[in-house]
């Protein structure tokens, strides 16, 4: 039986990850270890969480440019409340998550009810969140709250001697829940339907308004959570955290095989898209002589290849219909 065509992009993504990892293992000593794999998760936990939220947005046919700024705002609000106002983390973290969700749903509502391109609305959201950071403070706020430092330093040892961080575990849980949601719940399927055709979704009686707003709410929530995780990682709040991060996130989703026009793709693909970005960075750091900007060039190249691949696949799909 030939490979089902709908799986081609995700299979390409997974193969790409395996090839890169294997190639890295052959080339560098110490590359092939469980710990390197775990580090991919530890270092990219916040990217994974944000990309999961972004996957839903892109699957629904939209885009969210505000995620990077939202992360920065979350770190800033957390740091400010915990450090400067002495609020307990138990209160601060839910509050930050709530803020992210509310911010996202606000953007979703504007997008849906006023029919303004998601690009523009989330661009405004991006400016807004970034600007609000500076309203709180222009400088870095370092966190030395015991809860935050404890979470940051906790290493959970796995059988085999490698370890993983709490943030990575949160990210894995988020990814698992998202995969389930996308595949096994009505909300998830409605997101796909919306990305396939908004007009049809409306005529099939699907809750278009609710789904669309939910998608941006989810993305806002995810980026706020990513901000919390990022706070654990950096132990500081700063308005310049995660600048340009929305591009990394979108790239991870697209390299994960999700169609930027919506409707096609898998959260699992996004997971591997994030890992591929991580592997590229790891290889470059192992190489030593290669500089970090190669990451961007390679990611740009992969973006190009995947967009082209999808273009070719969808062109063949539509020619079949004729």
């Amino acid at each position: 039986m030939s490979l089902n065509r709908k799986y081609i992009p995700i299979v390409v993504t997974i193969l790409l990850f395996i090839i890169m990892f294997v190639a890295g293992s052959f080339r560098y000593t110490g590359f092939f270890s469980l710990q390197v794999l775990m580090n991919l998760l530890i270092d990219n936990a916040f990217l994974l969480i944000t990309a999961v939220g972004m996957s839903f947005v892109i699957l629904s046919g939209g885009i969210d440019l505000s995620v990077g700024s939202m992360i920065a705002l979350s770190t800033m609000v957390s740091a400010s409340l915990v450090q400067q106002h002495g609020w307990p983390p138990v209160v601060v973290i839910p509050l930050v998550l709530l803020m992210g969700a509310a911010f996202g749903s606000g953007m979703g509502a504007i997008i849906h009810y006023f029919k303004i391109q998601p690009f523009i609305v989330t661009l405004a959201g991006m400016f807004m969140a970034r600007g609000l950071c500076y309203v709180i403070s222009i400088d870095t706020i370092t966190i030395d709250n015991s809860f935050y430092t404890a979470v940051a330093q906790t290493k959970i040892t796995l059988p085999g001697g490698s370890f993983i961080s709490i943030s990575a575990i949160i990210a894995l849980i988020v990814a698992a829940v998202a995969i389930y949601t996308a595949h096994y719940t009505r909300f998830g399927r409605n997101v796909y339907a919306l990305g396939g055709s908004e007009q049809s979704s409306l005529l099939m009686g699907l809750p278009v308004a609710r789904t669309k707003i939910m998608v941006y709410t989810l993305s806002g929530l995810c980026s706020a959570l990513a901000g919390v995780v990022f706070t654990f990682y950096m132990l500081s709040g700063y308005g310049l955290h995660a600048v340009g991060f929305e591009l990394d996130t979108i790239a991870a989703v697209v390299i994960g095989g999700t169609l930027l026009t919506g409707g096609v793709g898998y959260v699992l693909g996004t997971f591997f898209g994030v890992l591929i970005q991580g592997v590229i960075q790891t290889i470059i750091s192992f190489e030593g002589t290669l500089s970090s900007w190669w990451t961007k060039i390679v990611i740009g190249l992969l973006l190009f290849i995947f967009i082209l691949l999808q273009r070719v696949l969808s062109a063949r799909g539509s020619s079949l219909k004729r």
Binding site: N4, R5, K6, H183, Y184, T185, R186, R189, N190, Y192, A193, G195, G196, S197, Q199, S200, S201, L202, L203, M204, G205, L206, G263, V264, G317, S318, L320, K321, R322
Partner: protein, 503 residues
């Protein structure tokens, strides 16, 4: 079976849009176990009636009863809940989802909120094979299948929503012969299952083949409900177009008698065709001749005309020009060969809404001349004013935005755009649709006077009188085929009606 009560009854439905009466006093009765055809020409109100029935539009007046109980339909969801399911011409499903999902989305079988994919796939396959006799892999995305199969999937979805009434909105317009037959087999089976089917079509043969009853609309008004077997083809066409046979008298044709003295052949189509649009046909047009294309909506008249302009690419055949040169593949090439084309889609393929009348007028000429041989503002104003006067465009202001003009004046601007390129062959597709009587007459006169000056025309209109009035020769199309050429003394309404009705 007609002794039964109608399952769905619509009475005295009125629907107005700003400036337009879309439906006026329309009745519709659907009986279980019957295929009911809804027929009418463009603008008759078929689509509006269906959108009212499916909750996309509200009604201003009138009553909708389902199984004797008065209902009000406020959304597509409520329509579905009432047992009315619709399969649109443009299949309204999600091509990215699997076949099974498209049947079940919004109503997936679940346990504790978890979608049961196996159960869903099994039930989807079951519905398709048992009720529609189709065996396909339901886990494939819908876009992998032909439009015909997609339509069947849409029907399957409709059936699974426990439909009592199934609306098929021009389901056959993009199907080939075999696919149509497959659809008809399924419709017969569903009919036996007791479903009421509303079948919207403009193919006469298909209507007679499958329908028990037919409702005809014209200009948003209810013409009548008839048993299909009691209605002759000619009567049907007359009722759709709006004439009683006894009242048909030949208007004096404005065109003079057909002359052999027309000039050389301007363009000749040989074996030209496009799959799903028009079967291979030959047609030559001579200098100064007005060739009318007659036929019902969807008969292939527009599709044939588009091939002359390169607006669509033909699958076979060629165009031959004087001197033996061949081929027109893009509008640019057609314009170079001095062919002009006014599309029937004035909004999407004609006007550039946000630009002024002046800019719209000079657009084609400027495109022909290229970027750098620019018409000066003075030249632009001169030609704009000249054509505004010549065609009596109102308001006579070249700097008015075209989107603010009335339909008739927009049409005149488009005529001006093309006349400015001094075409030798001018293709007019429904140039007078939706415009007032005065403008209509002006356009007809313009065609005649220009043709006498040597311009050739391909003239398409749903209004037979109009085609008759301006044409030197009339080509009749039916069901995507060229069926007859009528010229000279045979050009009268009866002959054309008969050719359109066929059979």
């Amino acid at each position: 079976m007609s002794a039964q009560e109608p399952i769905l009854q619509m009475t005295k439905i009125h629907k107005r849009f700003p400036g337009v009466k879309a439906l006026c006093d329309v009745d519709l009765r659907l009986y279980p176990g019957e295929v009911h055809a809804l027929m009418g020409e463009n603008g008759a109100g078929k689509s509006t009636l269906i959108k009212v029935l499916t909750g996309v539009y509200s009604i201003d007046e009138g009553k909708v009863e389902m199984e004797g109980i008065s209902i009000s339909i406020n959304s597509p969801l409520e329509s579905q809940a009432a047992g009315i399911s619709t399969v649109y011409q443009e299949v309204n499903l999600c091509p990215n989802l699997t076949v099974a999902e498209n049947i079940f989305i919004g109503r997936e079988p679940r346990r504790f909120g978890r979608i049961l994919w196996k159960e869903m796939n099994r039930r989807a396959a079951e519905i398709l094979s048992e009720r529609l006799n189709v065996q396909i892999d339901v886990t494939e995305p819908l876009r992998m299948y032909s439009v015909a199969v997609q339509q069947l999937v849409a029907i399957a979805r409709a059936l699974d929503i426990s439909a009592k009434v199934l609306i098929l909105d021009e389901p056959t317009s993009s199907l080939d012969q075999n696919e149509v037959q497959q659809l008809f087999r399924i419709m017969r089976k569903l009919k036996q299952d007791g479903l009421a089917i509303l079948f919207v079509t403009h193919f006469l043969d298909q209507m007679y083949e499958i329908s028990d009853r037919v409702t005809i609309l014209r200009n948003g008004e209810f013409v009548g409900e008839y048993m299909a077997k009691d209605l002759s083809r000619l009567d049907l066409v007359l009722k759709m177009i709006g004439k009683e046979l006894s009242l048909l008298e030949d208007l004096p044709s404005l065109a003079e008698d057909y002359k052999d003295s027309f000039g050389e052949v301007m363009v000749k189509a040989e074996n030209l065709s496009r799959k799903g649009a028009i079967e291979p046909f030959d047609l030559s047009i001579r200098k100064g001749e007005v060739v009318g294309l007659a036929g019902l909506l969807g008969s292939g008249r527009t599709e044939a005309a588009r091939l002359f302009f390169g607006a669509d690419k033909p699958d076979s055949g060629k165009l031959i020009f004087p001197g033996g040169s061949e081929g027109v593949h893009t509008p640019r090439e057609a314009i170079k060969r001095r062919i002009a084309f006014c599309s029937e889609n004035r909004k999407t393929e004609g006007i550039i809404g946000d630009l002024t009348v002046r800019e719209n007028i000079i657009l084609a000429l400027q495109a022909k001349q290229g970027v750098f041989r620019t018409l000066s503002r003075k030249q632009q104003d001169e030609v704009a004013v000249e054509y505004i006067r010549m065609l009596n465009i109102n308001p006579p202001n070249p700097d008015h935005l075209i989107k603010n003009l009335s339909g008739g004046n927009q049409q005149k601007v488009l005529l001006a755009r093309w006349l400015l390129t001094a075409p030798q062959l001018f293709i007019l597709d429904e140039p007078t649709r939706g415009i007032d009587i005065g403008a209509k007459a002006e356009i007809q006169k313009l065609v005649l006077s220009l043709s006498r000056q040597g311009m050739s025309f391909l003239f398409i209109s749903s209004e037979l009188e109009e085609v008759l009035r301006v044409s030197d020769r009339i080509v009749v199309l039916r069901d995507h085929c060229k069926v007859k050429e009528i010229s000279d003394k045979d050009m009268n309404q009866q002959n054309i009606m008969q050719a359109i009705a066929g059979g």
